[in-house]
Amino acid sequence: MDEKSPRGSSFLTAQYTEAELELLIGVGERLGIKLTDLFPFGVPAFDGASGTWRVTPEQLPDLIRELTQLEKIPNLKVFPKGLPATEAFDVVFEAGSRRTS
């Protein structure tokens, strides 16, 4: 509990309801993009999740656009896959819960 610790309210506003998580995951489903990894937080009372979509270079702009139009935008990290030519991207999202235990 030092001065650099984040505000409690920053965690509160980042929490996702189960319905909001469904909306988030539904973005990939609508675009026909496969979710290769999903880790829900807060079982049995979901308040967040992390996961990964594997997308082609052509699918990436659509996925990012759809995600940034959500009311709650998750943290996103995009990793190119394939050397020297990028064949795919892993789009990793982190939404909601930052539980400490």
Binding site: M1, S5, P6, R7, G8, S9, L12, A45, S101
Partner: protein
């Protein structure tokens, strides 16, 4: 008019001895603290307090279970007709210690500062959470109604929902949320005192949790919207200084050295009623009403005015706000 609603509360700290040295302890209690009030003084106090209109005794500390005369004290309070509440860190609760309190204790409140890592960090003791949690069964078995006391900091409002779930699952009837105060050992945690933003989030979160838990769990938040506090202080000071003590001063706080102070542990002694080692409560109350009470009302009026000024915080800890204003008024800075 009183902070504690319909019933006058006398809050007693019979000892500063404690088995823990919590990092936020406002009374700087610990194993080496020696202050302790003799049972005869407390016996007179509860009888006098009841006669002056107080209906509730709230025992805190130090750790009350380290006060050797606790059962006798509570028996005398009960005999005086008081409802008895007790706040404990929970680590010393056991069937052996609870058995003598049967019939004397109306509510036991256990400290809960978050999930295990946060709780143990606040309590400055690895294993404090587990020690408290495994004793809840003994409280349930004793049939004593119980609740939890959560210390709100700048960093943990998001854990209120967790605390409510924990409390409800444990069979508790109350979750009290008290903001961290930068007093006593808590002075070193001044940066973790919840600001108005975190206070406002706590207000909303408690409102949400009240709806979610309904009758299952009661919530008490020791923070108030500034406008509500300002209105309350106007009424408090307009009500004047007539009537019995419990009607004009609640909570009345009795510290481990016998001093009786208004509203909050550590309240500046310029506004105190005096020491129970000097006189009994009715005599202290009489001279206080004629002496310090008008000055205390001046402080309350000034705080009320400040809360109405532009830029005032939206949500405040009323007790702390008044204590700081009283300290400044007494020349101790602010």
């Amino acid at each position: 008019m009183r902070f504690t609603g319909a019933r006058g509360v006398v809050q007693v700290h019979p000892t500063r001895r404690c088995n823990l040295t919590c990092v936020h302890c406002y009374s700087e209690s610990g194993p080496k603290a020696a202050d302790e009030l003799p049972l005869p003084v407390l016996g007179d106090l509860v009888a006098d307090a009841a006669a002056l209109g107080y209906e509730v005794l709230a025992v805190s500390g130090g750790e009350p279970f380290m006060y050797p005369h606790l059962p006798g004290f509570l028996r005398q309070a009960k005999a005086a007709g008081l409802t008895c509440l007790l706040t404990s860190n929970g680590t010393l609760v056991s069937p052996r210690r609870l058995e003598p309190l049967a019939g004397c204790l109306d509510l036991l409140v256990l400290s809960l500062d978050g999930p295990r890592p946060e709780h143990d960090r606040m309590r400055a003791r690895d294993g404090a959470y587990d020690a408290m949690a495994r004793r809840i069964g003994a409280v349930r078995q004793a049939g004593i109604p119980f609740g939890f006391l959560f210390t709100l900091t700048q960093h943990n409002v998001h854990q209120l929902a967790w605390a409510a779930e924990f409390a409800a699952a444990s069979g508790a009837s109350l979750l009290q949320v008290h903001p961290l105060e930068a007093s006593g050992r808590g002075r070193s945690l001044y940066h973790a005192v919840p600001d108005a933003t975190e206070g406002a989030y706590a207000l909303l979160e408690v409102a949400r949790l009240r709806l979610a838990f309904g009758e299952t769990l009661r919530f008490q938040l020791d923070l108030a919207p500034a406008a509500a506090l300002a209105a309350f202080l106007r009424e408090l000071t307009a009500a004047g200084d007539g009537g019995e003590l419990a009607g004009i001063l609640s909570p009345l706080v009795v510290e481990p050295d016998g001093w009786c102070v208004p509203w909050q542990y550590g309240f500046p002694r310029e506004f105190a009623l005096g020491s129970l080692f000097q006189d009994r409560l009715p005599q202290l109350a009489k001279s206080w009403a004629a002496g310090a009470l008008p000055a205390l009302h001046d402080v309350a009026r000034a705080v009320g005015r400040q809360l109405g000024e532009p830029g005032a915080p939206v949500v405040v800890n009323g007790y702390e706000r008044l204590a700081w204003a009283a300290l400044a008024s007494a020349g101790g800075g602010g």
